[in-house]
Symmetry: C2
DNA sequence: GCGAATAGTTGTATATTACAACCAACCGGA
DNA sequence: TCCGGTTGGTTGTAATATACAACTATTCGC
Protein backbone atom coordinates (compact mmCIF):
# COMPACT_ATOMS: atom_id res chain seq x y z
CA UNK A 1 0.00 0.00 0.00
CA UNK A 2 2.75 2.40 0.97
CA UNK A 3 4.69 1.52 -2.15
CA UNK A 4 1.66 2.03 -4.33
CA UNK A 5 1.00 5.44 -2.82
CA UNK A 6 4.58 6.36 -3.53
CA UNK A 7 4.11 5.49 -7.17
CA UNK A 8 0.89 7.53 -7.36
CA UNK A 9 2.73 10.40 -5.72
CA UNK A 10 5.53 10.10 -8.27
CA UNK A 11 3.11 10.13 -11.18
CA UNK A 12 1.34 13.13 -9.74
CA UNK A 13 4.62 14.91 -9.35
CA UNK A 14 5.72 14.28 -12.91
CA UNK A 15 2.37 15.15 -14.43
CA UNK A 16 2.27 18.36 -12.40
CA UNK A 17 5.75 19.29 -13.51
CA UNK A 18 4.86 18.73 -17.12
CA UNK A 19 1.60 20.63 -16.82
CA UNK A 20 3.26 23.66 -15.31
CA UNK A 21 5.89 23.89 -18.01
CA UNK A 22 3.92 23.12 -21.14
CA UNK A 23 2.45 26.58 -21.55
CA UNK A 24 5.82 28.30 -21.57
CA UNK A 25 7.24 25.72 -23.98
CA UNK A 26 4.38 26.07 -26.45
CA UNK A 27 4.42 29.86 -26.33
CA UNK A 28 8.17 29.95 -26.86
CA UNK A 29 7.75 27.80 -29.95
CA UNK A 30 4.91 29.97 -31.36
CA UNK A 31 5.41 33.54 -30.20
CA UNK A 32 2.69 34.79 -32.55
CA UNK A 33 -0.09 32.72 -31.01
CA UNK A 34 -1.07 32.51 -27.36
CA UNK A 35 -1.33 29.10 -25.75
CA UNK A 36 -5.12 29.39 -25.56
CA UNK A 37 -5.46 30.52 -29.18
CA UNK A 38 -3.14 27.75 -30.28
CA UNK A 39 -5.09 25.16 -28.29
CA UNK A 40 -8.35 26.26 -29.85
CA UNK A 41 -7.01 26.29 -33.37
CA UNK A 42 -5.58 22.85 -32.79
CA UNK A 43 -8.83 21.58 -31.32
CA UNK A 44 -10.83 22.82 -34.30
CA UNK A 45 -8.32 21.11 -36.55
CA UNK A 46 -8.75 17.80 -34.75
CA UNK A 47 -12.51 18.14 -34.35
CA UNK A 48 -13.60 19.77 -37.57
CA UNK A 49 -17.06 21.28 -37.33
CA UNK A 50 -17.04 21.63 -33.55
CA UNK A 51 -18.70 24.67 -32.04
CA UNK A 52 -17.63 27.46 -29.71
CA UNK A 53 -19.60 25.98 -26.85
CA UNK A 54 -17.65 22.72 -27.17
CA UNK A 55 -14.40 24.58 -26.74
CA UNK A 56 -15.80 26.40 -23.72
CA UNK A 57 -16.71 23.11 -22.09
CA UNK A 58 -13.43 21.38 -22.81
CA UNK A 59 -11.22 24.21 -21.61
CA UNK A 60 -13.43 25.44 -18.78
CA UNK A 61 -13.70 28.92 -20.28
CA UNK A 62 -16.65 31.24 -20.51
CA UNK A 63 -18.40 31.29 -23.86
CA UNK A 64 -17.69 34.99 -24.21
CA UNK A 65 -13.98 34.32 -23.92
CA UNK A 66 -14.19 31.63 -26.58
CA UNK A 67 -16.25 33.90 -28.80
CA UNK A 68 -13.55 36.58 -28.71
CA UNK A 69 -10.66 34.16 -29.12
CA UNK A 70 -12.34 32.55 -32.12
CA UNK A 71 -13.11 36.02 -33.44
CA UNK A 72 -9.42 36.82 -33.32
CA UNK A 73 -8.55 33.60 -35.16
CA UNK A 74 -11.18 34.42 -37.80
CA UNK A 75 -9.80 37.94 -38.23
CA UNK A 76 -6.36 36.42 -38.73
CA UNK A 77 -7.77 34.13 -41.40
CA UNK A 78 -6.96 30.92 -39.53
CA UNK A 79 -10.49 29.79 -38.72
CA UNK A 80 -13.77 30.03 -40.59
CA UNK A 81 -17.27 30.11 -39.11
CA UNK A 82 -20.28 28.66 -40.87
CA UNK A 83 -22.98 31.25 -41.40
CA UNK A 84 -26.17 31.12 -39.42
CA UNK A 85 -27.02 30.38 -35.83
CA UNK A 86 -25.09 27.37 -34.63
CA UNK A 87 -21.71 27.93 -36.18
CA UNK A 88 -19.63 24.92 -37.02
CA UNK A 89 -15.96 25.88 -36.98
CA UNK A 90 -13.33 24.95 -39.54
CA UNK A 91 -9.64 25.62 -39.94
CA UNK A 92 -8.78 27.51 -43.13
CA UNK A 93 -5.95 26.38 -45.43
CA UNK A 94 -3.79 29.11 -43.89
CA UNK A 95 -4.63 27.82 -40.43
CA UNK A 96 -3.84 24.28 -41.47
CA UNK A 97 -0.46 25.34 -42.88
CA UNK A 98 0.39 27.17 -39.67
CA UNK A 99 -0.64 24.20 -37.55
CA UNK A 100 1.13 21.61 -39.63
CA UNK A 101 4.33 23.62 -39.53
CA UNK A 102 4.00 23.94 -35.78
CA UNK A 103 3.37 20.25 -35.38
CA UNK A 104 6.30 19.25 -37.54
CA UNK A 105 8.49 21.40 -35.35
CA UNK A 106 7.04 19.94 -32.18
CA UNK A 107 7.35 16.41 -33.47
CA UNK A 108 10.98 17.01 -34.32
CA UNK A 109 11.65 18.35 -30.84
CA UNK A 110 9.89 15.40 -29.29
CA UNK A 111 11.73 12.93 -31.50
CA UNK A 112 15.01 14.45 -30.36
CA UNK A 113 13.92 14.17 -26.76
CA UNK A 114 13.09 10.50 -27.22
CA UNK A 115 15.97 9.55 -29.47
CA UNK A 116 17.67 7.39 -26.86
CA UNK A 117 14.49 5.55 -25.93
CA UNK A 118 13.87 2.12 -27.34
CA UNK A 119 10.95 1.54 -29.70
CA UNK A 120 9.26 -0.53 -27.03
CA UNK A 121 9.56 2.28 -24.50
CA UNK A 122 8.09 4.78 -26.90
CA UNK A 123 5.20 2.50 -27.70
CA UNK A 124 4.54 1.84 -24.03
CA UNK A 125 4.67 5.54 -23.22
CA UNK A 126 2.18 6.35 -25.99
CA UNK A 127 -0.16 3.62 -24.81
CA UNK A 128 -0.05 4.56 -21.12
CA UNK A 129 -0.57 8.24 -21.91
CA UNK A 130 -3.51 7.34 -24.09
CA UNK A 131 -5.07 5.23 -21.36
CA UNK A 132 -4.46 7.96 -18.83
CA UNK A 133 -6.13 10.60 -20.99
CA UNK A 134 -9.09 8.43 -21.86
CA UNK A 135 -9.50 7.60 -18.20
CA UNK A 136 -9.46 3.84 -18.62
CA UNK B 1 10.67 4.60 -39.66
CA UNK B 2 7.10 5.33 -40.54
CA UNK B 3 5.97 3.32 -37.55
CA UNK B 4 8.31 5.21 -35.27
CA UNK B 5 7.00 8.55 -36.53
CA UNK B 6 3.50 7.38 -35.82
CA UNK B 7 4.45 6.62 -32.25
CA UNK B 8 6.07 10.03 -31.84
CA UNK B 9 2.95 11.59 -33.29
CA UNK B 10 0.80 9.66 -30.84
CA UNK B 11 2.89 10.74 -27.88
CA UNK B 12 2.75 14.35 -29.05
CA UNK B 13 -0.99 14.11 -29.38
CA UNK B 14 -1.51 12.70 -25.90
CA UNK B 15 0.89 15.12 -24.24
CA UNK B 16 -0.79 18.04 -26.01
CA UNK B 17 -4.22 16.85 -24.94
CA UNK B 18 -3.08 16.57 -21.35
CA UNK B 19 -1.37 19.96 -21.42
CA UNK B 20 -4.44 21.73 -22.72
CA UNK B 21 -6.73 20.28 -20.08
CA UNK B 22 -4.59 20.45 -16.98
CA UNK B 23 -5.22 24.12 -16.29
CA UNK B 24 -8.98 23.71 -16.21
CA UNK B 25 -8.72 20.61 -14.04
CA UNK B 26 -6.46 22.27 -11.47
CA UNK B 27 -8.55 25.43 -11.32
CA UNK B 28 -11.74 23.44 -10.87
CA UNK B 29 -10.14 21.64 -7.94
CA UNK B 30 -8.88 24.87 -6.30
CA UNK B 31 -11.23 27.68 -7.19
CA UNK B 32 -9.61 30.03 -4.69
CA UNK B 33 -6.19 29.92 -6.33
CA UNK B 34 -5.34 30.54 -9.98
CA UNK B 35 -3.32 27.95 -11.83
CA UNK B 36 -0.31 30.27 -11.94
CA UNK B 37 -0.54 31.16 -8.25
CA UNK B 38 -0.93 27.50 -7.38
CA UNK B 39 2.06 26.55 -9.51
CA UNK B 40 4.21 29.17 -7.85
CA UNK B 41 3.17 28.19 -4.35
CA UNK B 42 3.84 24.58 -5.21
CA UNK B 43 7.22 25.40 -6.72
CA UNK B 44 8.29 27.32 -3.62
CA UNK B 45 7.18 24.36 -1.53
CA UNK B 46 9.30 21.96 -3.57
CA UNK B 47 12.25 24.33 -3.88
CA UNK B 48 12.37 26.05 -0.55
CA UNK B 49 14.44 29.21 -0.64
CA UNK B 50 14.10 29.77 -4.36
CA UNK B 51 13.80 33.32 -5.62
CA UNK B 52 11.30 35.22 -7.75
CA UNK B 53 13.68 35.27 -10.68
CA UNK B 54 13.84 31.46 -10.64
CA UNK B 55 10.07 31.26 -10.98
CA UNK B 56 10.16 33.76 -13.83
CA UNK B 57 12.69 31.62 -15.69
CA UNK B 58 10.89 28.34 -15.14
CA UNK B 59 7.46 29.61 -16.16
CA UNK B 60 8.56 32.03 -18.85
CA UNK B 61 6.94 34.98 -17.09
CA UNK B 62 8.17 38.52 -16.66
CA UNK B 63 9.73 39.25 -13.30
CA UNK B 64 7.13 41.95 -12.68
CA UNK B 65 4.36 39.41 -13.05
CA UNK B 66 6.07 37.07 -10.62
CA UNK B 67 6.65 39.94 -8.20
CA UNK B 68 2.95 40.73 -8.11
CA UNK B 69 1.84 37.10 -7.94
CA UNK B 70 4.19 36.44 -5.04
CA UNK B 71 3.01 39.67 -3.46
CA UNK B 72 -0.53 38.34 -3.56
CA UNK B 73 0.55 35.03 -2.00
CA UNK B 74 2.39 36.94 0.74
CA UNK B 75 -0.68 39.09 1.43
CA UNK B 76 -2.73 35.93 1.76
CA UNK B 77 -0.23 34.58 4.26
CA UNK B 78 0.80 31.60 2.15
CA UNK B 79 4.35 32.64 1.31
CA UNK B 80 7.02 34.48 3.23
CA UNK B 81 9.86 36.56 1.80
CA UNK B 82 13.23 36.86 3.50
CA UNK B 83 14.13 40.46 4.22
CA UNK B 84 16.78 42.22 2.25
CA UNK B 85 17.72 42.32 -1.39
CA UNK B 86 17.71 38.86 -2.83
CA UNK B 87 14.65 37.37 -1.24
CA UNK B 88 14.57 33.67 -0.63
CA UNK B 89 10.99 32.48 -0.64
CA UNK B 90 9.38 30.09 1.79
CA UNK B 91 5.93 28.59 2.20
CA UNK B 92 4.28 29.47 5.51
CA UNK B 93 2.60 26.83 7.66
CA UNK B 94 -0.76 28.04 6.31
CA UNK B 95 0.56 27.68 2.77
CA UNK B 96 1.84 24.20 3.52
CA UNK B 97 -1.51 23.16 4.97
CA UNK B 98 -3.32 24.44 1.88
CA UNK B 99 -0.91 22.68 -0.45
CA UNK B 100 -0.93 19.40 1.40
CA UNK B 101 -4.70 19.35 1.40
CA UNK B 102 -4.72 20.07 -2.30
CA UNK B 103 -2.19 17.34 -2.98
CA UNK B 104 -4.06 14.77 -0.96
CA UNK B 105 -7.12 15.55 -3.00
CA UNK B 106 -5.20 15.34 -6.27
CA UNK B 107 -3.53 12.12 -5.26
CA UNK B 108 -6.91 10.61 -4.41
CA UNK B 109 -8.29 11.64 -7.79
CA UNK B 110 -5.26 10.20 -9.54
CA UNK B 111 -5.44 6.97 -7.55
CA UNK B 112 -9.05 6.59 -8.63
CA UNK B 113 -8.08 7.20 -12.24
CA UNK B 114 -5.40 4.52 -12.03
CA UNK B 115 -7.26 2.01 -9.91
CA UNK B 116 -7.61 -0.52 -12.72
CA UNK B 117 -3.97 -0.31 -13.71
CA UNK B 118 -1.57 -2.97 -12.57
CA UNK B 119 1.26 -2.07 -10.22
CA UNK B 120 3.72 -2.71 -13.00
CA UNK B 121 1.92 -0.32 -15.31
CA UNK B 122 1.87 2.39 -12.71
CA UNK B 123 5.56 1.95 -12.01
CA UNK B 124 6.38 2.03 -15.71
CA UNK B 125 4.27 5.14 -16.25
CA UNK B 126 6.01 6.94 -13.39
CA UNK B 127 9.41 5.99 -14.70
CA UNK B 128 8.74 6.99 -18.30
CA UNK B 129 7.22 10.31 -17.24
CA UNK B 130 10.25 10.96 -15.06
CA UNK B 131 12.62 10.23 -17.92
CA UNK B 132 10.59 12.39 -20.23
CA UNK B 133 10.64 15.35 -17.87
CA UNK B 134 14.31 15.03 -17.08
CA UNK B 135 15.05 14.83 -20.78
CA UNK B 136 17.04 11.62 -20.61
C1' DG C 1 35.38 50.44 -2.67
C1' DC C 2 33.61 51.01 -7.40
C1' DG C 3 31.39 49.80 -11.58
C1' DA C 4 28.74 46.13 -13.66
C1' DA C 5 25.52 42.75 -13.29
C1' DT C 6 21.57 40.90 -10.89
C1' DA C 7 17.09 41.05 -8.21
C1' DG C 8 13.02 43.29 -7.28
C1' DT C 9 9.28 46.98 -7.51
C1' DT C 10 6.21 50.08 -9.62
C1' DG C 11 3.91 52.77 -13.55
C1' DT C 12 1.47 52.01 -17.61
C1' DA C 13 -0.70 49.85 -21.53
C1' DT C 14 -2.63 45.78 -23.41
C1' DA C 15 -4.78 41.36 -23.27
C1' DT C 16 -7.43 37.91 -21.09
C1' DT C 17 -11.19 36.53 -18.73
C1' DA C 18 -15.75 36.23 -16.28
C1' DC C 19 -20.30 37.72 -15.61
C1' DA C 20 -24.46 39.61 -17.18
C1' DA C 21 -27.55 41.17 -20.48
C1' DC C 22 -28.93 40.58 -24.73
C1' DC C 23 -30.11 38.55 -29.52
C1' DA C 24 -30.88 34.70 -32.73
C1' DA C 25 -31.86 30.13 -33.95
C1' DC C 26 -33.76 25.79 -32.88
C1' DC C 27 -37.21 22.59 -30.73
C1' DG C 28 -41.51 20.53 -28.63
C1' DG C 29 -46.07 20.53 -27.62
C1' DA C 30 -50.72 22.33 -27.99
C1' DT D 1 -48.51 26.81 -36.97
C1' DC D 2 -47.34 29.47 -33.32
C1' DC D 3 -45.38 30.16 -28.78
C1' DG D 4 -42.39 29.53 -24.94
C1' DG D 5 -38.25 27.34 -23.41
C1' DT D 6 -33.60 26.00 -24.40
C1' DT D 7 -29.31 26.47 -26.55
C1' DG D 8 -25.58 29.00 -28.96
C1' DG D 9 -23.38 33.33 -29.72
C1' DT D 10 -22.16 38.38 -29.11
C1' DT D 11 -21.26 42.53 -26.73
C1' DG D 12 -20.82 45.77 -22.57
C1' DT D 13 -18.29 46.14 -18.49
C1' DA D 14 -15.18 45.29 -14.77
C1' DA D 15 -11.53 42.74 -12.76
C1' DT D 16 -7.31 40.33 -13.42
C1' DA D 17 -3.00 39.02 -15.61
C1' DT D 18 0.78 40.13 -18.12
C1' DA D 19 4.64 42.50 -20.57
C1' DC D 20 7.68 46.25 -21.08
C1' DA D 21 10.17 50.01 -19.33
C1' DA D 22 12.07 52.81 -15.86
C1' DC D 23 13.67 52.78 -11.55
C1' DT D 24 15.92 51.28 -6.92
C1' DA D 25 18.55 48.22 -4.22
C1' DT D 26 21.61 44.64 -3.64
C1' DT D 27 25.41 41.66 -4.80
C1' DC D 28 29.70 40.46 -7.07
C1' DG D 29 34.23 40.75 -9.38
C1' DC D 30 38.20 43.14 -9.56
Amino acid sequence: MAAQEDVTQQILHELTLYGRRVRAVVERAHPDLSFVAYSMLSHVYDEDGCRAVDLARVYGLDKSTVSRQIGALVRRGLVQRDDGGVQALHVTPAGARLLEGARDQQRAMLARRLERWTDAERRTFAELLRRYNVGE
